[in-house]
Symmetry: C2
Subunit: 145 residues, 2 copies
């Protein structure tokens, strides 16, 4: 999770909403990514989707059976579904996102009948730090002229 | 929608689940794509996400305000959210997908409080043809040794 927070901070330094994600398989990091929606002009390039794409590419496989994903913020609806499709085993996330989250908030995708694979979910890891990174980013943005 | 069906058939010919999508802006096609999850080892490369990414890249912008998306099947949870994030104006889709859809089935994302932009939705365009393409594809797959 520390590595996911580093990716979040790096995303913030690039002017992106500071969220970071890491994919781990068999104890090894196979992908780490921060949010890159602005840089790539890609509205789907959230940290989780970027990390999953990278991991699939590195491993040359379409699914990530047995892999775990660490992300600084509760995944949104798009990412929650992508995590399910990728067959991620365990999802660890930092702060909850009542406005946009889809795991313990919003559509609670993993509890729905149209969800065909649900990861084990562990929430609240480095929660305060994760939320602080986001809070500081938006506070600084508001101060800009 | 005819073009989306062509993309669906082309995807099927490549061995992918046959779904196709087209993005139209100001009366012009800016992106067309079929499902490429297998070819790209990218679980997120559904037709809709592929077409949205392509359109964003072509236009050099992160959002597709005023653009319409045509897709042969009701979008899944991931794609429904990506369509919302991209600020698609109108969504036209073919067949409904009770098992995996997220527009008029499943999480019905556009009716949820955590959905911050909902496109206008028009369903049932070339519905029979869209469904037939999928049905034929899976029937042929089952016949393979």
């Amino acid at each position: 999770m520390e590595m996911a927070l580093d990716e979040a901070r790096a995303a913030g330094a690039r002017g992106e909403v500071p969220i970071g994600a890491v994919v781990v398989l068999d104890g090894a990091v196979v992908a780490r990514a921060g949010n890159r929606t602005r840089e790539l002009y890609d509205v789907t390039a959230h940290a989780e989707v970027a990390a999953i794409r990278m991991a699939c590419e590195v491993l040359g496989q379409e699914r990530l059976v047995g892999a775990d994903l660490y992300v600084s913020l509760e995944p949104c609806t798009m990412c929650a579904a992508a995590i399910s499709f990728a067959r991620i085993r365990r999802l660890y996330y930092g702060a909850e996102d009542p406005k946009g989250g889809a795991v313990d908030n919003g559509v609670r995708f993993y509890a729905q009948p149209t969800c065909h694979h649900a990861p084990e979910v562990y929430s609240g890891l480095n929660e305060t730090e994760s939320a602080d990174i986001l809070r500081t980013f938006f506070a600084e943005k508001r101060e800009l002229p």
